[in-house]
Structure formats: structure tokens, C-alpha cells
């Protein structure tokens, strides 16, 4: 039995192939082949053995997202949805962008309107969250092409607040 799993890492799609091999596994990542023994001593933890090295990995998942903590670092991976997988190598370049809320919060004020020219670093939206006032600033100079929120809105993480056409597009 052979299983194949794909993960999106930055713009790249990486494929991992897993095949049982006696008590262990042969795992292929790109051109590299690893002989791995794996044990799952409890939910969300793996003990791995590769040569003389043992690794303890903690794993968790939420939707398409995968988390792996290993050797003092934490990695966040994304299982691409089928349509993303097809599009991944044709990602749009810079030039047009939208500003998303970095976290859920209450919109205190929107300081720009469609058509405004904005400079890099200029505050566009004031947000309140976790007892702090947060300023959402322009990542680059450009022109506001759309405003998607208003004062008093409660917005979610990832929600588009303002759309900007970038100067260097």
C-alpha cells in the first residue's frame, strides 16, 4: 500500500509518498528517500526513528491546516484543496491587493475612502481587540479601490477590509 500526501509550502506544492516496509516506512520527499520507523504512543504524538536519530513530533490539524512541532520548532503546513493544487503554480503577481484583518475585532474607524491615494505605512483602519487599539496600515503606496467595512463592524480574521491598487503594480 502506498499513500501520497501533498502540502503547500509558500508557493510550492510538495508531495510526500509513504510506503510500508516491514515494521517501518519508506518515505519519499522530492528526491530524498528516508527509511523511518514510526510509533504513535498517544493521540497527536509520533516517535520517529531515522538512523541513529530519534525525534519526538507533536502533530495537530484544523481544517486544511497541519501543525508539526519537532526539534524545538513549530511548522504550519497547508493541505491544498483540489482547486488550489491546480492553481498553485499560477499565483497572481503583485500589483493589486486587498488588506485583510489580521485578527477579529471591532472596527473603530475607517480613515480612507475609495479613490484615496495612500502612502506606505499610512493608517487605514482602527481596530479594537484584546483591550488594544490596533492600526491597520498600508503595506505599500497605492490607490484605494474599495472599502469593505465601516465603524462598528465586528470583523473576522482574514476578512477583507480595504482593497488597494498598488503603485508599483
Amino acid at each position: 500500500m502506498k499513500s501520497e500526501y501533498t502540502y503547500q509550502v509558500g508557493d510550492e506544492i510538495r508531495t510526500v509518498r509513504v510506503q510500508r516496509n516491514g515494521d517501518g516506512f519508506v518515505v519519499t520527499v522530492g528526491d530524498s528517500i528516508y527509511e523511518v520507523r514510526a510509533q504513535r504512543p498517544e493521540h497527536g504524538r509520533l516517535n520517529l526513528q531515522v538512523g541513529d536519530q530519534r525525534l519526538r513530533a507533536y502533530v495537530a490539524s484544523e481544517g486544511q491546516r497541519r501543525y508539526v512541532a519537532m526539534a524545538g520548532k513549530t511548522w504550519e503546513l497547508e493541505r491544498p484543496k483540489p482547486e488550489q493544487k491546480r492553481r498553485a503554480n499560477a499565483a497572481g503577481g503583485p500589483g493589486a491587493g486587498s488588506l485583510e484583518s489580521s485578527m477579529p475585532g471591532l472596527v473603530l474607524d475607517v480613515l480612507v475612502s475609495a479613490g484615496d491615494a495612500v502612502e506606505r505605512g499610512e493608517t487605514l483602519v482602527l481596530l479594537e481587540a484584546m483591550k488594544m487599539e490596533l492600526r491597520i496600515t498600508a503595506p505599500a503606496g497605492g490607490t484605494v479601490t474599495g472599502v469593505r467595512c465601516k465603524a462598528g463592524d465586528v470583523v473576522d480574521r482574514g476578512q477583507v477590509l480595504v482593497e488597494i491598487a498598488s503603485d508599483d503594480g
Binding site: 513530533a57 502533530v59 489580521s102 481587540a129
Partner: protein
């Protein structure tokens, strides 16, 4: 001694206080907002009662709601923790008027020392140098005039402030009105008090504070300093003791000033005097006093061997301090790192979500004061500090290495944390050399970004094997459909952690 204490707080400090109460054999009552119905502190207390909806103003800041529960459940004392109502003298008074003991200073001392402005006045009277500032009026025109006299850059600070909330650096005249408005909004939201004042900005100062304690028998001591210079957005993130640059003479002089301040106002229970120290001249200026337990109190506990929460409870019960100044010493070196749910790649904005897994480091010299555990939700409503990691080493170098070890072994999945940033700071040459001033992060880490290196192959191997093995473990329980499904986007793995049912 008390029989039952209500803890008017949440998160790691509530957990910390419950611990000490349980060790003293005192029953505990936890309060919780609707957002915290399953939070760690509610699980550990003997009784837990709801006090209102998620917004703090309607729950943890609702003194009447909390006091009502304390009376209903027969509590004889109340511990406020830090933040929320801990520096609210009116609430302290109402607790006392209701016949309960307030585990903290007298309301009168809270009023004098808790307000930044009257504390400055009291310290001036006691002969302790204070940072130049203006606190006479709340009127914008007066403030603009005073600012011109003080000179720029200056700080706008909340009178009731703490933790950097309601604080703004202003570099020029034109920016002041907007800064005043913004600081007032934040102060009102955080402290229900929008008064602000101005303070001269000392360039590259060191932030050093002294832990003090007074009892009802006329005794007052200090428990040495905490170096709190490593800050980000005026929020302490790394504290240590002893301070790497405080010599014996300056330590003695600052300690004496701290004790003099305690005596001057007849201060009882735990408090902290914050000073700014000019690294060039060695001059120190009083900055403010916190009339409560401090977030970073554990490092003092580690080097002095005193449990500050138990001491607060004993002193509140009328017992004298069990030691004199000359009995106390600092031994070894302690460092605390504050673990925040925030995204270092995204301007350190708070991150929220479900903690899919939390594994705390354990071992000699490592202490974790955590407010969350696996399965908890980090919500928008409260401070994003989720835990404190404390390392006690034989010396500073040893404590730094131990902290690095502990940070590497602190696993938090599902919510982005500042752990990579803390590791970068802790292991930097600048930090190792003890070059710590309040602008340390700006000077050395302004452009810091987490590594964007692609994950090593082994992380992908672990992820893939997890899909396979977790999927099979799931499937094994439910009949004949457990065949591994390869690249099925509806991998059963995700179900394993997403499941919840029958919860409030």
C-alpha cells in the same frame, strides 16, 4: 486564617493564586465570564461561578457582580490578582465594607500610590527623585502647553495605566492631539478611567523595579530588584533578577528608597516600585508604583525562596512578616519569558483560536505558570498572555541556556505564539552581554522576522505519517471503513481535534 477566598481574576494569575490557597488549606471560589466557562482556573477551584458576559466591563470588571457571589458563597477574603479590579480602590473599599478582607493594600494607600499622579507627588515629598512630567490638568490646551515646556519626545500615559495600555510616544507637537484621543480611548476601555498625564521620555533607560512588602505591625522590606527593560510596545516580555548591571551600591540605595516609600505611606501588603535608571549616570527616578502582585513576581520568588502569594494572604490575615531585611538574599539567577498568543510575522498582533495542543517543558529549574491547556480557546476578549516561563539557573549564562532549552520544548499548536521571537532575543549577543535598555527591541530587533525557511523534510514526513497513523487509529474504532485514504482532503485527522459536544 481565611476559610474561603474568592479570586476575582482569570487566566494564569487565577491559577497561581488557587494553587497557593490549596496548599494553605483554604477553599477557593473562581469567577468566570461566559467566554471562560471551561477555562483552566474554573477547573482547579473548589467552586466556580459565572459573573457575566465575555466583555470584561460586564464580568471581570463588574465589582458588584463579583462581590455578590463572594457573599453568597460565604467567602471571607478576596484576592484581585493583577489587572482588572486589582488597583480599583473603590472596589477594595466595597469589599471591606461588605465585611470581607481585601488581599492587598489599604484603599487609602491604593489611592495615593496607585494613581500615577498622586504617587509622583508623594514620592517627591519623600525625597525620592521622579521623572519630570505634567499631571495638573486633563484639558487638551493645558496639556499642549505643558508638552511644549517638557519638550519632545514625551510619553502620554494613563493615570490608571499598566502594561503599556493607554501609553503613546509622541515625537512632535502635531501628533499630540491624536495621541491624547487614542490613549484616552484605550485607557477607558482597559481601566474604565480615561485620565492621562504627560511624562518626559528618558532616552534608552533601564526599567528596574523593586518588590516591596509591608505588614500591619510596622515592618517593611524589599525583596530586591527585577530588571524589566526588555519591552515591546511598552509591554514587558522578558524580566530577570538580579539585574545584570546593578552594582551592590546602587542596589542598596534603590532598595532603601523603596523601603522609605513604603514607610512614608504606611503601605501594607505586596507592591512594586518602578524606577527608570539612566545607564550613563546611574541616576534613578521613580516612575510609578503598582499596588498589587506583579506579573513578573515569580522571578523574585525563585531567587529569594519566598512565596509572594502566600505572604500576601498571611499579611492580609494580620500576620507579621516572617523575616527581616537582613535575613533576605538573592541566590542564583532567574529569567521570565512571557508567552503571548501573537504573530511575530504580523507585527506581533494577537492571534486567537483553539489551542490544539499545549505541552509544557518540565525539569530542574523550569517553572511554567500557564493559564491555558490543550483544548482551550484563546479569544478576542482578554489579554493575549497565555503563560509565563521561568528559568532558574546557577548564574545568568546558565539561566539563559536553560530558558532556551525550555522555549524549545514548549509546544503550542493551533495558535501562533511569540516563542520564536523570545528565542531569538534570549540567544542574541546583545542580550547575552546584558545590554538591556527599554529600547532594546527597537535597537536590535526592529526588523526581526521569523525564519521563512521551508520546513525540513522530516516535518513533512511527520505530517504525512500523522495523516496515515491518526487516520487509522480513528478508523479502527468504527467498523470496516477504516481503510487509509491517502490524499483524501476530508482526512479523519481533522475530526480528532475539532470535536466538541454538550459544552456550554
Amino acid at each position: 486564617m481565611f476559610r474561603k477566598i474568592l479570586i476575582a481574576n482569570r487566566g494564569e494569575v487565577a491559577v497561581r493564586i488557587i494553587r497557593s490557597c490549596q496548599e494553605l488549606g483554604i477553599r477557593t471560589v473562581a469567577v468566570y465570564s461566559d467566554a471562560d466557562a471551561n477555562a483552566l482556573h474554573t477547573m482547579l477551584a473548589d467552586e466556580s461561578v459565572p459573573v457575566g458576559p465575555a466583555p470584561p466591563s460586564q464580568s471581570y470588571l463588574c465589582g458588584d457582580c463579583i462581590l455578590e457571589q463572594a457573599l453568597r458563597l460565604g467567602c471571607d477574603a478576596l484576592h484581585p490578582g493583577y489587572g482588572f479590579l486589582s488597583e480599583n480602590a473603590d472596589f477594595a473599599q466595597s469589599v471591606i465594607d461588605a465585611g470581607l478582607t481585601w488581599i492587598g493594600p489599604d484603599p487609602a494607600a491604593m489611592r495615593t500610590m496607585g494613581s500615577k499622579t498622586s504617587a509622583r507627588a508623594a514620592m517627591l515629598a519623600a525625597g525620592v527623585p521622579v521623572v519630570p512630567g505634567y499631571q495638573a490638568s486633563q484639558d487638551d490646551a493645558d496639556l499642549l502647553g505643558a508638552a511644549a515646556e517638557l519638550g519632545f519626545p514625551l510619553l502620554v500615559k494613563a493615570t490608571a495605566g499598566g502594561g503599556g495600555k493607554g501609553m503613546r510616544i509622541v515625537h512632535r507637537d502635531a501628533d499630540l492631539p491624536a495621541a491624547l484621543a487614542s490613549a484616552r480611548r484605550e485607557a477607558r476601555s482597559a481601566f474604565a478611567d480615561d485620565r492621562i498625564y504627560l511624562e518626559k521620555l528618558i532616552a534608552s533607560p533601564r526599567h528596574i523595579e523593586f518588590q516591596v512588602f509591608g505588614d500591619r505591625h510596622g515592618n517593611a522590606v524589599h525583596l530586591f530588584e527585577r530588571e524589566c527593560s526588555i519591552q515591546r510596545r511598552h509591554q514587558k516580555i522578558i524580566e530577570e533578577t538580579p539585574s545584570p548591571l546593578l552594582g551592590a551600591d546602587l542596589r542598596r540605595r534603590m532598595g532603601e528608597a523603596a523601603v522609605a516609600a513604603v514607610r512614608a505611606v504606611g503601605y501594607v501588603n505586596a507592591g512594586t516600585l518602578e524606577f527608570l535608571v539612566d545607564p550613563a549616570s546611574g541616576d534613578f527616578h521613580f516612575l510609578e508604583m503598582n499596588t498589587r502582585l506583579q506579573v513578573e513576581h515569580p522571578i523574585t520568588e525563585q531567587v529569594t525562596g519566598v512565596d509572594l502569594v502566600k505572604l500576601q494572604i498571611r499579611v492580609a490575615a494580620g500576620q507579621p512578616l516572617p523575616f527581616r531585611q537582613e535575613d533576605m538574599g538573592q541566590r542564583r539567577h532567574a529569567i521570565e519569558c512571557r508567552i503571548y498568543a501573537e504573530d511575530p510575522a504580523n507585527d506581533f498582533l494577537p492571534s486567537i483560536g483553539k489551542v490544539l495542543r499545549a505541552v509544557e517543558p518540565v525539569g530542574p529549574g523550569v517553572r511554567v505558570d500557564a493559564g491555558i491547556t490543550t483544548g482551550d480557546e484563546i479569544t478576542i476578549h482578554y489579554d493575549p498572555m497565555i503563560a509565563k516561563l521561568i528559568a532558574l539557573g546557577e548564574n545568568r549564562e546558565d539561566a539563559v541556556r536553560k530558558m532556551d532549552w525550555a522555549l524549545q520544548h514548549y509546544v503550542i499548536l493551533g495558535v501562533t505564539t511569540n516563542i520564536p521571537f523570545l528565542r531569538a532575543v534570549i540567544t542574541s549577543d546583545a542580550f547575552r552581554q546584558g545590554d538591556v535598555t527599554t529600547d532594546f527591541v527597537d535597537r536590535h530587533f526592529a526588523d526581526w522576522q521569523p525564519s521563512t525557511k521551508a520546513p525540513p523534510d522530516m516535518a513533512l514526513v511527520a505530517a504525512a505519517l500523522a495523516e496515515l497513523l491518526e487516520g487509522e487509529a480513528q478508523g479502527a474504532g468504527a467498523g470496516p471503513t477504516g481503510e487509509p485514504q491517502g490524499d483524501d482532503p476530508l482526512s479523519p485527522w481533522r475530526q480528532a481535534t475539532g470535536f466538541r459536544l454538550g459544552e456550554r
